[in-house]
């Protein structure tokens, strides 16, 4: 017979923790979180240093600003949502059966850990590992393990660190907890206070039948909870796996270094979460909310899915330098698409090829240097129009066609854009041209080669091509007469 065993991970001051998670430099200093719309903003969450300096729940912004060195942050539901996802991700590493609860500013996640002893060791060790894992993700938590769901929840909410309640010792473990932990309705709480009941132990000691006679079935429920015997029907969550991090800045950020500092932590968290699922990051979308409400978005697509945080951060740095935001950044969202790690079979006799991750960084740097659309592999268009090609992203491993029989072919060197020239003709053949600086007499003119196409669209062309040999230089040029506009261009040079 399998016995029940639950571990409750409890995070106090969750609105504050969700904001401080990505700002470790604020962990030790007094910080309070304000909730509500200006001008009615009240403190809803704070840490211990803030409490010691005199901050209290419900204090207005004006009162809070009077406290020396108290940092005030605005509550962000977006940050809390992102933090909750990270919290559940970490917890899911220990058990897939989870249930979450929220009370005020506290957030708790209860895991069904029955049968995990062989994987993680005894409950105390498991609880320690949970605490450590969540601390790694930036959360300060307390963990309680019990065979009773409610006992674990109540104990984790009141005790610090790790507590393990032995089986059938729930009543004793909860006896000293205050009655307020049950969150009783005011009327019943007042009644119990009049009876002199202050702790759960005292409530559990009340006779059951008499309690039901006076308070109804609710009374029995509270008594059972207090004695650690109330049963619970577990409703496991089905967490959606999404790799998303959000951070809202207290003051808008203008320097990219400051942004990268925060982004580094976010990418750290994303790579760790992806690695936890044996996945890699295939795509990173960085969305920035700018001052004034505009949005700026960058996309990083490494050639191969990776969890190398330094590499991803380098790509982000280069992309930011190439496409800087127009104004200061108020909030940053990083979303990742997970992919499976690449499996490349290397061989001793394979040709020398660039390393994929280094090539990604090199390509990003080249794009930043010469422009996004000026780096890549040329692909010929299916047309007879001259100089028709498009650029595609350079990728290793893409199959390419290779001619079996290669012969040297005289090559063209294009002039982009084509150089307008004045041409002198005799008997409808060019005999000399002037390029604006110098006149060239044509020794031999081969042509014309007439081509036209796309007459049904705006990109139509109709032209005569001449291969001309210059008398003075022994050089061959490609002269083009655009018949639509009757203009001559020097389009290329043979080389």
């Amino acid at each position: 017979m399998s016995r029940e065993l639950y571990a409750c991970i409890h995070a106090r001051e969750f609105p504050l923790q969700s904001l401080l998670r990505l700002r470790p430099e604020l962990q030790g200093s007094p910080v309070a979180v304000l909730d509500g719309r200006p001008p009615v903003e009240l403190i809803c969450s704070m840490n211990q240093p803030a409490r010691l300096r005199g901050a209290a729940l419900g204090m207005t912004r004006l009162e809070a600003e009077g406290i020396e060195r108290l940092r005030l942050l605005s509550r962000s539901t977006e940050s809390e949502r992102a933090a909750r996802e990270v919290f559940l991700e970490c917890a899911a590493n220990f058990s897939p059966r989870m249930e979450e609860t929220e009370a005020g500013t506290c957030y708790a996640c209860i895991l069904d850990i029955a049968g995990t002893e062989r994987l993680f060791g005894p409950p105390a060790v498991l609880a320690q590992r949970m605490c450590a894992a969540l601390a790694g993700a930036g959360f300060q938590t307390s963990v309680a393990v019990s065979a009773n769901f409610h006992a674990a929840l109540l104990k984790a909410g009141e005790a610090d660190g790790v507590s393990v309640i032995a089986e059938r010792q729930e009543a004793a473990a909860l006896a000293n907890l205050s009655l307020n932990t049950l969150n009783l309705p005011d009327k019943e709480a007042e009644t119990l206070a009049i009876w002199g009941i202050r702790s759960l132990g005292e409530l559990a000691a009340l006779p059951e039948v008499e309690l039901i006679a006076r308070m109804g079935q609710h009374g029995k429920r509270w008594r059972d909870i207090a004695s650690g015997t109330f049963p619970h029907l577990f409703h496991p969550l089905e967490p959606r796996f999404s790799l998303r991090e959000f951070c809202e800045f207290e003051c808008a950020i203008e320097q990219s270094d400051s942004l990268l500092f925060v982004a580094a932590r976010m990418i750290d968290s994303l790579t760790a979460r992806a690695a936890g699922h044996a996945l890699c990051i295939a795509l990173l979308t960085i969305a920035m909310r700018l001052e004034g409400g505009q949005r700026h978005q960058l996309t990083l697509r490494p050639a191969l899915p990776t969890i190398d945080r330094k590499f991803l951060l380098k790509l982000l740095q280069i992309e930011l330098a190439a496409h800087p935001p127009q104004s200061a950044i108020a909030a940053l969202t990083i979303e990742a698409a997970a992919g499976h790690a690449s499996t490349v079979q290397l061989g001793l006799f394979m040709p020398q090829l660039p390393e994929t991750s280094r090539l990604d960084v090199t390509l990003a740097r080249l794009k930043a240097l010469v422009g996004e659309d000026r780096v890549g592999s040329p692909v010929l268009e299916d047309t007879h129009c001259g100089d028709a090609f498009r650029m595609e992203a350079f990728a290793i491993g893409t199959p390419g066609s290779v001619l079996t029989e290669r012969k040297p072919r005289i090559a063209l060197r294009r002039l982009r854009p084509p150089h307008p020239v004045h041409v002198r003709c005799s008997n409808q053949r060019p005999v000399a041209f002037h390029d604006g600086h110098q006149s060239y007499s044509i020794a031999v003119a081969y042509g014309p080669w007439r081509t036209s196409g796309c007459w049904w669209s705006a990109g139509d062309w109709d032209r005569d091509e001449w291969d001309v040999l210059i008398a003075q230089e022994q050089s061959a040029h490609l002269l083009v007469n655009d018949r639509r506009q009757n203009r001559w261009h020097l389009e290329a040079v043979y080389d």
Partner: protein, 255 residues
Amino acid sequence: MPSANAIRLQIEQALESRFPAALSPMPQTVRETAAVGIAAIDGLLSGGFPVGAISEITGPVTSGRTCLALAFIAARTSEGKVCAWVDVNDALDPESAAANGVCLRRLLWVRCKSEAGPANGKPWSRLDQALRAIDLLLQAGGFAAIVLDMGDTAAEHGRRIPLATWYRFRQAAEQARSCLVVLGSAAYAQSSAEVVLECAPHEARGQTVLHGYVFDVQLKRQRSISTMAAMRKPPASTHSSIWTASNAWATGAKP
């Protein structure tokens, strides 16, 4: 009286801490070559362009420089290797490259631009961009051949490139085992270049249509010559050759 060998050994031992093997000549290594794919040029270069070194192809317009470089890239890409073409003046014609047998999917084309780019807020000329791009590509490694196409760059601009830059490229190319081919109207790399070829137009072929060209090529410089079998005096090597390139559409045409 001690022999010359003994004195040399003594001096070397005395200076060993500062200069290892001070008086012994460096052992000559046979440099690996990569075939260009044109028999006349491969014969002239005793196998092809050296791997891990700088090779220069110089000459005026219509001297076959680009055709030669494309033939080399075609040979490298046909082996499954990847190459890069750093185009200072954005002059490469992909159609000509494909006609020469270059596998375009294995060619990284970097087209320098004339406008001052917003990169880091500093304007870069085309040549500066190209030199920076070469640095990045050599550092990345893995490219079998990199062509620095300065064919339309004025010689006086090319000569302004410091010798230290060429020396750095030479070292990097050696480490990355890449063939760095510099295409220009004059030789710029000077002592850093392993091979310098000077091209010139010989004659055009065709009566009514331009069938092709005959080019002259001269070997102006070759630093390391294979001395594997130096027992016998090598036969007198030729330093110039002639080769022909036909027009892309002139398949099977008899000029």
